[in-house]
């Protein structure tokens, strides 16, 4: 597994735990165990699990497991994708938690979109027929 994939997957696992923690708090609130204030973290819960965990895990595993590039690739786009996806998740989560921070949420979504663009542009030439991968 490439070192960069390890970082994507480790950050994904951290977001899994954070997302599950917020989800558990909200579920416990439905049972009356906690105050309704925990619902402020609903967007953060979704953001951590869908983008922070699942999307980031896809980035890490895709970068690891898809056919090797035919021509050498720069490493910086995936490093930038790692930074942008994590920054984006936290900005979008913060923007969704604090009602007055709508602009922060937009910044977060843009950051996530940038990460997806960088990941896609890196992976695109690696998605090819098997015989080319061997050749």
């Amino acid at each position: 597994m490439p070192r960069l994939s390890c970082w994507f997957i480790r950050f994904a696992l951290i977001h899994l735990v954070l997302g599950f923690t917020l989800g558990a708090l909200m579920l416990a609130q439905k049972a009356g165990a906690l105050g309704t204030a925990v619902w402020a973290f609903r967007v953060a819960h979704q953001e951590f699990l869908l983008a922070g965990f699942m999307l980031q895990l896809v980035f890490g595993v895709g970068f690891w497991i898809l056919p090797r590039p035919v021509h050498p690739q720069h490493g910086w786009p995936m490093v930038a994708a790692l930074i942008l996806i994590n920054a984006g998740v936290w900005l979008a989560a913060a923007g969704g938690t604090v009602p007055a921070w709508g602009g922060v949420a937009i910044l977060g979504r843009l950051s996530e979109t940038g990460a997806v663009g960088l990941f896609a542009s890196t992976i695109w030439p690696r998605v090819r027929p098997f015989q080319h991968a061997r050749g």
Partner: protein
């Protein structure tokens, strides 16, 4: 494919089918009211998909595919993976029953079950992370 990976993946497919059936019931319920409990089944429906199917499928594939723990013990501390499997499914089933039930029936038992579901699912996520963490490593 190791036994636990097969359990995760097959169970995830059962949840996918179950989620789709609940989706059909919810769609019918919107047109012609079936049973009041379906008014409160929306979150359970979503979580059957994203936890029961997607997350569980990810856990199963990761258990199978990630670099081996060691030559002597390829899958490492397997009991942690099994623990996560049991807790995730116990929590999700408990949630799928107790969450809609708290909407239509008053009873302390349902609320305790809901807290139990929350704890089980949280512990499952934590346990699987602790289990898989040492297998996330560079060559």
């Amino acid at each position: 494919m190791p036994e636990l990976a097969r359990w995760y993946i097959k169970t995830s497919l059962v949840y996918l089918a179950a989620a789709l059936l609940v989706g059909v019931a919810l769609a019918v319920h919107r047109m012609t009211s079936l049973v009041p409990v379906l008014d409160f089944s929306g979150p359970a429906y979503i979580h059957l998909f994203v936890v029961g199917w997607l997350t569980q499928l990810i856990f199963g594939v990761a258990y199978w595919l990630f670099p081996r723990f060691s030559k002597a013990s390829p899958y490492g501390h397997e009991y942690l993976g099994w623990g996560a499997y049991v807790l995730l499914n116990a929590g999700l089933i408990l949630r799928a029953v107790a969450e809609p039930a708290t909407g239509v029936m008053y009873g302390k038992g349902w609320r305790v079950a809901l807290i139990g579901a929350a704890l089980c699912q949280w512990a499952a996520g934590l346990l699987f992370t602790v289990y898989i963490w040492p297998r996330v490593r560079a060559k």
